[in-house]
Structure formats: structure tokens, C-alpha cells
Amino acid sequence: MNPGSGPGFSFPATALRMSSGVIVWALHFALVYGYTALACARGFGASVPSVVGGATAAAALIALGLILANLGHEFTRWMSAALAAAALLAILWEGLSVFMVPACA
């Protein structure tokens, strides 16, 4: 066996694929929280609902795309799709706040 061709090298790609959904969630979370904090501190809070809403829609679409791209029963595919589904739910659930709570109150 040639160890240089071992499948260990695919690990970074596998790990990234499996966690791509939750990475989208993390980026979305950082963006909506960071933007809201900055906008409220600097007095442009009126833009918060549209920015947060837009970011939520975009992140949700990406997460949905990741679910569809990874459908399958093989372990890493299944886990990638399932984590993206969990991320999708979290993104929508967290983004929902923007319809119910004033931005900078």
C-alpha cells in the first residue's frame, strides 16, 4: 500500500463539506448581530430590518442549496445535509426576530 495516496488527505474537504451548513449559520449570525450592533451605535438603525431580512433570506437559500446538494445515505453526505438542515432552521428561527422586535430599542 502506498501511504501517500491514503484517503487521509480528503479529511479537510470532508470536514469542510460536513460543516458547510453550520459555517453559513455562523457567518449569518455574525453578520446580523454585528450589523445590528454597529447600526444602533452609529445611528443608522433604520436599515437593520432590510439588511437582516436580506441576509437571512440569502443564508437560508444557501443552506437549502447545501441540503439539496448533499442528499444521500452515505455517512458524510447524510451528515452534511442534516447539519445544513439544522442550520437552515436556526437561521430562519433567529432571523424571525426582525419581524417582531424593534431594531434599536
Binding site: P3, S10, A26, A37, L83, A87, A90
Partner: protein, 831 residues
């Protein structure tokens, strides 16, 4: 006759087993302290963590005695402040995280089918650093010199003005040091789980405890740097008056809370997930059926691991943050309950499907269900912002956090203790006594902490050393105190049973008395298993009949010592295919000496004994270099036969080597810490734009510094080409002055800025100084590689030392460029 499918035939060569035993023979007498393999270090580690549990428990009893009646004078307010600070700190930093790392160090190799984890000396160093640092830290309580600002040490209370003594410095330097030990353990665990699993143990067949520990260790990698950054900044403020948290000069006390809780909330799950992993191992065994929804449980572990990083502000609901921002964290706090719930339902379903053995571990698991679910429900309650405002800083929170932490961690740990004692001792613990222990602990816990929900709702604040009579809190507090002593009686009874029954023995252990299905229950010795099993399911002992006998006879992989020393099999990270044989170190003193003097370095700094700190630091570095000098063995050893027609190399370099993986994880840690510094810069700019300068240093400085950095990376790339060609790495000697020059230019560029004047100067100097520290480390690694080349220990093949230096160098350059972009680019970008 040997089945043809097994990797190695019978009979085995004469003396094979004896050679294996000789290679793994533990040191005797006082040399035991030089042991590095997991079966010894793991036990030291677990025992020390349990010692801290008992010590912190004693502090809790003192507090409960003080609060038993109103207007009590058993301890003073000042002592009480130290008691609750030390109780929380010791439980969280010296018990909860170390004990699960300890269990992992002890159990994981056997569970994965490895001989040991890949960096035994790192485990030894992590343990000794923790033990020495932790004990010294705890002893401050006897001198009235303990920190007293609460376990989360909020400034401005913990700033120099309000906490002028050295208690806060003990916390900041001591805990910072102990966090480094936790990170060292996490690196060991990550690389161990990913690279030393038995052949065939793919990610889809990995024991759930290994999955939980993988998520745990990755969470440490990303969460702990935040508290290290926070402690660094607060200590800089205390020691040199750099105003990161002082509002008068543009700092903000909330920056500490953000950094602390970015670590602190994941910390709750860092504690819970390994416990959940233990439960997922114990429940199937006690029910004698595989875990229901194995994949969903892994999904839940991973989802909790990620989502828990979106919860930190729920500790800051009362700080005046905009309501929409709070809502994001409220939503995330509720969302994380779902994956936690998935695990609970999977465990209940597993019990429902199987035939449950109602033994002591099962009792503790059932106790865990009851208490943890209650803690989870009150967690959802306090995730609701208005409710949190109502009960913030009251005893309701004390009740909630103990239901989560004791229910979610201590009960599973006690279940695990009863469950795995037969793995490590000649005798299992007594069932009869175990039931007494369970009921005392379970009832004692609920009697102690359930009333606190009510005490909190009717207004009793946390951290008060006494209270007046007639507030309606008297009876509830007395009941809580009675419960606390009941709980303590349960722990005492457990300790008595341990003293009576526990007799440590690897070879002569009580064995698989529960009929468990995972690999740690194979017959084992100091070398773990006689041969490394080939695995075809998640429960190999259930699904591969005869596996224990085959492994013990040496019919699986690597049935002896392939290299004449200690070795283990390295497999691919995803599908666990054998790749190479890793030579493991023998016992040695360098980790102990290194840890001792690293601790002495930090303690000397606490007392501002700078010359002594310098001496200790030099000795610690010398010990670590001595250790490093022997890390990279000769590359000339021929490939070895491990069975099954596989001849594997015993030396590899580059991305295949375990050192490369460890360095990548270390870079993730460093990257996280640097991200925290950059976040601090942006945060301080957000809250205090008025202290940002209108005129910036010339861009020429930034350009010159960037050019020097890139040139140094170029020199290292050139050195890499030379090493590939003939082993020479002299361009490293050119890279060093280039890197050092870039640091000098960086400081010169900030000559007009004072780190004491404003938060801007403080954070800029923090970033620049951190870059300088990395330049120093990279220089040290490069000099080390040059010295090894000069000594004839580095060539085209034997190049792991050089690869480590190269990786670290390029990372440091990338970090420096990011720092330049922030310090010089960002102010210009925003005008």
C-alpha cells in the same frame, strides 16, 4: 486453524508478547513521575481532577454553613467573596474540563484500539502543568490571597482600582496558564481521535464518546483562546494601565463580558458534551442494545457544538444591548435545546428498546435525565429576555446552573465512574453501597438546589455572604444547607467505597462485567491491546464474535512491537485505513521539568518577580527544547510488517505526519486568539470612535513591514526547496532578520501612540506586541531547525522539525499581514 480473513496467523513467534510487555513496562519507584503513557498519566489526571472536585466541594459546604441561618458570622464578607470565587473557578477550570480530558486521555486509546495517544509527552506536560498550577492556585485560599471578583471576574470590579491585591493576578495568570494546558490536551485528543483509530473504525463507526470528545476538543480550540485573550488584556490593564476596560479612556467593561462569555457559554457545552458522550456509551450497554438513532446523536453533538457559539450574550441580557440583538441570542438559546432534546429522546428510546440492567450506573443515568431535563427547562426560561431580567443575579440562576452542571455533568461522571471502574480495577465498586451513594447524592442535590429556585424568585441575590431574618429566605436556606451536607455524605461514602474496593490493575482488571460492545473492554495491559483490532461495526464486541480472543492471541494488526520500542498504528482520518506506524516515546523527565518551570514562570510574574520569572522561563524553554530535540526520530528505519500483507513506513513527514496535524490545530488556536484581538479592536472602535486618531502613521511603514514579512516567507519557501534538494535550510538564517525587522518597523510606526493614553493605543500595542511574540516563537523554531541541521539531524527525509517551523512561520506572517491591514488599513477605510 486461523481464519484466512485475520491479518496475522497462529502460532505467534516466541517472545513477541514479552517484547511488547518490556517495551511498555511502566517506570518503578520515584521514576513513576516520569511516566508518559496514557494508562499512568490518565490515572494521575483523573485523581487530581477528583481532588479538586472534593476541595471545591468543601468550599461549597463552608458557604452553605454560612448561609444556613440569617445574620451568620461564621465567615466574613471578604472570605465569603473568596470562597464563591474559588468554588466556581476550581469547579469550572480545575475540575469540570480537566476531568473529562483526563477520562479521554485514559480511555480513548483503548476505545479506539490504539496503544496510546500520539503525543504522550504532551499529555504528561498538560497534566503536570495543570496539577502544579492548580494546586498552587488553590493554596492561595489558605493565605487570604485568593481572587474575590466572582468566577467570571468582571471589570471594573477586578481592575487595579477596586481589586488592588494580587488575588485577581493569581486568577488571570493562573487560569491563563491552566487554559494552555487544556488546549494542549485538546490537540492531543483531536489528533488521537482522527489518526489513531483501529483499521475499519470509520467516522460512521466511531464510538459516540470519541465523537463527543472530538467536538469537545474542537470547541476548546475555538472557545478557550477568547478567555486567554481576555485575561491577557485585563492583566495588561492591571500591570501597565493599558485601558481596555476603563471607560474614561475609551475602554469598555463589556468587552470583557463579550470575550469571557464567548468562551464561557460554549464552556457549558464543553462540559456537557463529553458527559453526554459517556451516557451514550453506558445506556446501550445497560440496555444491551445499540444506541437508537446513532447518526442523529452525532448530528446533535455537532449541532450543539456549533450553535453553542451563538449564545454568549444570553449572559448579558441585563447590560443594555439593543433588544433585537438580544432576540438573536434568545432564539439561538432556544434552538440549542432541540439537539440536546434529540439526545435525551435517543437515550430514552434505547432504554425502551432494550432490557435494562438496573445497576448503579443506570441509576445515575436516570438521575441525570431527571435533573438535566429540569435544568434544561429552566435554561429555556432564562433564555426568555424578560424572565431573565426578573431573575438575573438571583438564586434562581444558582439553581439553574447547578441543575445543568451537576445534573448534566456530575451525574453522568458518577455513572461513568461506576461503569468503567471494572476496566481499571480488580474489583467493581459495591452495588449496595452504590445505591446508597446514588440516593444520598440524588436526594441531597434536589434538597439543596430545588429550594433555590424559590429563594431566587422571591428575591435573594447571588453572592451575598449573609441576609437578614424575616425576608422569607430563612427556612429555604436551611433546607438547602441540609441538602448540601446530604450530597457531601454521598460523595464521602463513594470515597470510602473507592478506598475499600478500588485496586488498580491493567492486566488483572474485573473485565467486561456489563457485557459492553466497545473496544475498551478487550483484554488489555500497559500496551493497551495485544494486537490492534480490525473493526467492522460500532459495537465490535457484540458484532464480531471471538474478537477478544483473536486480539489477545495477536491475530489482528501489529501484534507486537514492530520497531523494538513503543509504537502504534496511524490510520486515515475518514475511513481509518492503515497508513504508517508511529514510534512513541519512552518515559522522560522533560515534560515534568518543563511544566514545573512554566508554572514557576507564571507564579513569579504574579508576584512581579521579573528576574526570577525570566530564569524560570529560560529553564522551561530549555526543557521543552530538550524534549523537542528527541521528537523527530531517524528516518532510516525500514518499513515494518503489521499483518494482512501490509508493510508500512515508520517515518513520514508532511501532511501525513502527526506533527503536521498538531501544528495545524495549534494554528487554529492561534488564529482564534488573534481573531479575538481583532474583534476587540473593532469593538472598542464601535463604542469609542472618539479616541481613534485623525492622522495615521505613514503608509510607508505598513508597506515596508508587509514587504519584510513577505520576504521572510519567501526565504522560508526557498529553504523548503533546499531541504527537498539536499536537506540544507540556510535561507532560514535570512528569514529571521527580515521578520525581526518587520516587527521593529511595526513598533516604530506607532512611536507617536501611547498604549496608556487611550483604548486605541492599548489595543494597537496589544496587536503589535502579539505579532512580536509570534515573531520570537517563529525565530526560535527556525533556530532550532538550523541547529538540528548543523547536528546532522535534519535532511531531505528527516524533516518534521523543519516542516513545523515552516508552517508556523507562514502562519505568523499571515497573522502579521492581517494585523497590518487592521491597524493601518481599517482607520483609513472608515475615514
Amino acid at each position: 486453524m486461523t481464519p484466512p480473513s485475520l491479518p496475522n496467523p497462529l502460532p505467534r513467534p516466541a517472545g513477541e508478547r514479552e517484547a511488547l510487555e518490556r517495551a511498555w513496562a511502566p517506570p518503578q519507584g520515584w521514576r513513576r513521575l516520569s511516566a508518559v503513557n496514557n494508562s499512568k498519566i490518565g490515572v494521575f489526571y483523573i485523581a487530581t481532577a477528583l481532588l479538586f472536585f472534593v476541595l471545591a466541594g468543601v468550599l461549597a459546604l463552608l458557604m452553605r454553613a454560612q448561609l444556613a441561618v440569617p445574620d451568620n458570622t461564621l465567615v466574613s464578607a471578604a472570605t465569603y467573596n473568596q470562597l464563591f470565587t474559588m468554588h466556581g473557578t476550581v469547579m469550572m477550570f480545575l475540575f469540570a474540563v480537566p476531568v473529562v480530558e483526563a477520562v479521554a486521555v485514559y480511555l480513548l486509546p483503548a476505545m479506539l484500539g490504539a496503544r496510546d495517544l500520539p503525543f504522550p509527552r504532551l499529555s504528561a506536560y498538560a497534566f503536570w502543568a495543570y496539577a502544579i498550577g492548580g494546586l498552587a492556585f488553590f493554596c492561595t485560599i489558605f493565605f487570604g490571597a485568593s481572587p474575590d471578583g466572582g468566577w467570571f471576574m468582571y471589570p471594573p470590579l477586578t481592575g487595579k482600582q477596586h481589586s488592588p491585591g494580587i488575588g485577581a493576578d493569581w486568577w488571570l495568570l493562573g487560569i491563563g496558564f491552566i487554559e494552555i494546558s487544556a488546549i494542549a490536551g485538546a490537540i492531543e485528543i483531536i489528533v488521537g481521535i482522527l489518526r489513531t483509530r483501529s483499521p475499519g473504525m470509520t467516522l460512521a463507526r466511531m464510538p459516540i464518546f470519541a465523537w463527543a470528545m472530538l467536538v469537545f476538543a474542537l470547541m476548546i480550540v475555538f472557545a478557550f483562546p477568547a478567555v486567554i485573550a481576555a485575561t491577557l488584556l485585563l492583566e495588561l490593564e492591571r500591570a501597565f494601565a493599558w485601558p481596555f476596560f476603563s471607560a474614561a479612556r475609551g475602554g469598555d467593561a463589556l468587552l470583557w463580558q463579550h470575550l469571557f462569555w464567548f468562551f464561557g457559554h460554549p464552556e457549558v457545552y464543553i462540559i456537557f458534551l463529553p458527559a453526554a458522550g459517556m451516557v451514550s456509551m453506558i445506556v446501550p450497554t445497560m440496555a444491551q442494545t445499540p444506541l437508537v438513532a446513532y447518526r442523529l446523536v452525532i448530528l446533535a453533538l455537532l449541532a450543539v457544538g456549533f450553535l453553542s457559539f451563538g449564545l454568549w450574550v444570553h449572559h448579558m441580557f441585563a447590560t443594555g444591548i439593543p433588544r433585537l440583538s438580544l432576540s438573536f441570542f434568545q432564539a439561538a438559546s432556544m434552538a440549542v435545546a432541540i439537539p440536546s432534546g434529540i439526545q435525551v429522546f435517543a437515550w430514552i428510546a434505547t432504554f425502551a428498546r432494550g432490557k435494562v440492567q438496573m445497576k448503579t450506573p443506570t441509576l445515575f443515568i436516570l438521575g441525570f435525565f431527571f435533573i438535566f431535563v429540569l435544568g434544561g427547562l429552566t435554561g429555556v426560561m432564562v433564555a426568555v429576555v424578560p424572565f431573565d431580567w426578573q431573575v438575573h443575579d438571583t438564586y434562581f440562576i444558582v439553581a439553574h446552573l447547578h441543575y445543568v452542571l451537576i445534573g448534566g455533568m456530575v451525574f453522568p461522571l458518577l455513572a461513568a465512574f461506576y461503569y468503567w471502574v471494572p476496566y481499571t480495577s480488580r474489583n467493581a465498586l459495591s452495588e449496595r453501597v452504590g445505591r446508597w451513594v446514588f440516593w444520598l447524592v440524588f436526594l441531597g442535590f434536589n434538597v439543596a438546589f430545588f429550594p433555590m429556585h424559590i429563594t431566587g424568585i422571591i428575591g435573594m441575590p447571588r453572592r451575598v455572604y449573609t441576609y437578614p431574618a424575616g425576608m422569607g429566605w430563612d427556612a429555604l436556606n436551611l433546607i438547602s444547607t441540609v441538602g448540601a451536607f446530604m450530597l457531601a455524605a454521598g460523595v464521602l461514602l463513594l470515597l470510602i467505597d473507592v478506598a475499600r474496593r478500588f485496586r488498580m490493575s491493567a492486566e488483572g482488571n474485573a473485565g467486561n462485567i456489563w457485557n459492553a460492545g466497545t473496544l475498551e473492554w478487550l483484554p488489555n495491559g500497559n500496551y493497551s491491546n495485544r494486537s490492534v483490532p480490525r473493526v467492522t461495526s460500532a459495537y465490535p464486541l457484540w458484532d464480531q464474535p471471538g474478537l477478544a480472543k483473536e486480539v489477545e492471541e495477536g491475530r489482528h494488526y501489529l501484534p507486537g512491537s514492530a520497531t523494538g520500542g513503543r509504537d502504534t498504528l496511524v490510520t486515515s482520518a475518514v475511513d481509518a485505513r492503515p497508513q504508517w506506524v508511529l514510534r512513541l516515546p519512552f518515559p522522560g523527565w522533560a515534560p515534568l521539568v518543563g511544566a514545573w518551570f512554566t508554572a514557576a514562570f507564571f507564579f513569579s510574574l504574579t508576584f512581579k518577580l521579573v528576574p526570577l520569572a525570566a530564569v524560570c522561563g529560560v529553564i522551561a524553554i530549555a526543557a521543552l527544547l530538550h524534549w523537542g530535540w528527541h521528537l523527530d526520530p531517524p528516518a532510516s528505519h525500514p518499513p515494518v510488517d503489521i499483518g494482512g500483507g501490509l508493510r508500512l513506513p515508520v517515518y513520514v513527514s508532511g501532511p501525513m505526519s502527526q506533527a503536521w496535524w498538531a501544528m495545524v490545530v495549534l494554528m487554529l488556536v492561534a488564529g482564534s486568539l488573534y481573531a479575538c484581538l481583532l474583534f476587540s479592536y473593532l469593538y472598542l472602535w464601535t463604542v469609542s470612535p472618539q479616541v481613534w486618531p485623525r492622522e495615521m502613521p505613514s503608509l510607508g511603514f505598513a508597506a515596508a513591514s508587509a514587504l519584510l514579512l513577505l520576504s521572510s516567507s519567501g526565504a522560508v519557501a526557498l529553504a523548503n526547496r533546499r531541504v527537498k534538494r539536499d536537506g540544507g535550510c540556510w535561507p532560514l538564517a535570512v528569514a529571521i532578520p527580515l521578520f525581526v525587522s518587520s516587527v521593529i518597523v511595526n513598533f516604530v510606526a506607532q512611536a507617536e501612540v501611547s498604549p496608556r493614553e487611550s483604548a486605541y493605543g492599548a489595543i494597537v500595542y496589544a496587536i503589535v506586541s502579539w505579532d512580536a511574540f509570534f515573531a520570537a516563537c517563529a525565530t526560535l523554531l527556525a533556530l532550532f531547525a538550523l541547529a538540528r541541521r548543523r547536528a546532522g539531524l535534519l535532511d531531505r527525509e528527516r524533516r518534521v522539525t523543519f516542516d513545523n517551523a515552516r508552517l508556523f512561520w507562514h502562519y505568523s506572517v499571515a497573522q502579521g499581514l492581517a494585523g497590518l491591514a487592521m491597524v493601518h488599513g481599517f482607520p483609513r477605510l472608515i475615514g
